[in-house]
Symmetry: C2
Subunit: 359 residues, 2 copies
């Protein structure tokens, strides 16, 4: 088994035991039978919501820890911090699904939807989903607080984790704010969307894993932050741009995911902004009307994909991703790591932009 | 100005500056004009949601810190932890109001309702309210993590704060579960409700303030936990029972709050359980039918209040509160504090049960 596979398997089982430990519900004798099934349902959902991620972020943290010469003795504590990051993502997704009223997550019913079914009450199910998200957000900090005590810079490490959590929350607020941005000023919309990516995605996807790994391997907090931003900010933006691009043109890796979901939902993306910016007047008005409408038909989706291509927005996104990836590679090279460490870190980072990275 | 008034005023201004510091939004040039008013609205709401509490919990923490001989040099760090507790309460109330779909909080529109008005969109307003609750929950741990580094037992202190946060979240889950409990088994319902009080209320109202104060004044974590439970658990249960009782019979202090709100909402309380347990068959069936109905009329409310009195449930609650308060006083006496410290702590604790405590 290669190191990455071993890490992935360790992450998976460790997440289950950490979530079980920190979210254990009191099952006193006082609990009436009729309430137990509700509490059981929340406990089960705490574990099952945590399953099924690709664990890209946890794997990046461990790869960066190894690349930056983290001590073998404390690698298990770093593994716990990596698990905490995955649990944090789960907490954020549980709340995200409530905000978007989504039915599905990772191919299964979303947490609040599953709890609606378990309790037979939409109001109670949604309330329980909201509290489950809160509980998992607390659990992840518990995991970090305990693990940080075994690593260098304990307070700074917990503080960096909290900073990441705050950045994602601010990113979600910005994302909701951008929903109210007018489509007419396409350049402002593109910049606003890239800004959302920085806070909502890059923060916890690439910046925090590298920053926490550097702190865990003993780097000074200021240097850890600076390096994490230099490598992680462009990488995280490239990751989100590629994700949005795959939603429009599909992946070279045949993920089987249907295309056009973001368009159907009317999501304000950089692709949309680029298309509006470079369309002729008629196409521009057509796109704006389509995205200002309350819903979009299948033929709207096809038409929008066509316009994203013909206006050069797809090509512009490819260029953006390529430039950001180059920036990230450059920042990794400037760390002057040992050759095998540099190669391993580059390979892990390339997984965030598989269709673009020429690794 | 007496010490409590000075503390209250310091808490009030410190909360504003801590919330401003830790929830600051990035207002880069990239932010389009159209998004700024949304971000501004969330920032304003972060501060205004934090205003207007009685600060009973923060004042208890500081009084306990003084009583347990906390060091004067680190009292400001303890004050920050006390502010963090108030911010945590605000975060919990913001989510609670979303779960209950409440219009008002402390006489003003609830946070999500205010944000609905600000954005003109119920969906976006509710989403922003949910994220504001998440953000404030992160902010309070930031405050604790920074302050704990200046106090004894930094990791244990942060861990105790997180434990409190988890207990409240579990308490909310239990509370939602009890909504599905049958009314027929009144004894089970009374026990389940008291169990909810332990997790949802006593946890952060009385147990955590005392535990954090003990840790901050240098007590060993195990001892801090034990004493905080001995004093805080009965006190917190008594506080919630008195709150529920005032809702039915009004307060001797003429708070001007209308009575019967809990009955109108159909809340499952210990009072209701006691009334069902001691009513004759006809009254029992009447109460069960009334609380199983989807709403209750004003004459239902009057009738229920009458039954809460005639069945002896009101008197039973007074006895419960009295016995719990005695238990708490006994636990304080067993700490063998200096006389003036004991008196001051007893006075502060008596504020949680003003109608019962014979201080």
């Amino acid at each position: 088994m290669c190191k990455t596979d071993a890490d992935r398997s360790n992450i998976e089982s460790r997440i289950v035991s950490l979530v079980d430990k920190w979210s254990a519900m009191p099952m006193e004798a006082e609990m009436p039978e009729a309430c137990r099934h509700v509490v059981d349902a929340v406990s089960r959902q705490a574990t099952s919501s945590s399953e099924g991620g690709k664990r890209l972020r946890a794997l990046l943290m461990l790869a960066a820890y190894d690349a930056f010469d983290g001590h073998a003795d404390t690698r298990n504590a770093m593994l716990d911090v990596a698990c905490a990051l995955e649990v944090f993502q789960t907490a954020a997704l549980v709340h995200d699904d409530i905000i978007d009223d989504s039915d599905l997550r990772r191919g299964k019913p979303s947490a609040h939807r599953a709890l609606e079914t378990d309790t037979g009450s939409p109001a109670i199910g949604r309330g329980l989903g909201l509290m489950l998200g809160d509980l998992l957000a607390t659990v992840c900090i518990d995991i970090v607080n305990e693990a940080a005590a075994l690593l260098p810079h304990a307070t700074a490490l917990t503080s960096a984790f909290l900073n990441m959590q705050r950045e994602v929350e601010i990113g979600q607020i910005l994302d909701l704010a951008v929903e109210q941005a007018p489509l007419q000023d396409a350049e402002a919309l593109a910049n606003a969307s890239l800004n959302v990516f920085r806070w909502k995605t890059a923060s916890y996807t690439t910046i925090a894993p590298i920053e926490l790994a550097l702190l865990g391997s003993g780097a000074a907090p200021g240097q850890a932050r600076e390096r994490a931003l230099a490598i992680g900010k462009p990488l995280g933006l490239a990751f989100q741009l590629e994700d949005d691009l795959i939603d429009v043109i599909g992946s070279s890796r045949a993920t089987g995911k249907p295309v056009g979901g973001d368009i159907r939902e009317g999501k304000r993306t950089v692709l949309l902004a680029d298309a509006i910016a470079h369309a002729d007047c008629a196409a521009r008005d057509e796109l704006i009307a389509m995205f200002e409408a309350s819903s979009r038909s299948e033929s709207d989706v096809s038409r929008a994909i066509g316009l994203f291509q013909s206006t050069g927005a797809v090509e512009r996104s490819r260029q953006r991703i390529g430039a950001l990836w180059d920036e990230s590679v450059q920042a990794i090279r400037e760390c002057k790591l040992e050759q095998n460490h540099e190669t391993a870190l580059l390979e892990t980072c390339a997984r965030f932009v598989p269709d673009i990275a020429k690794s």
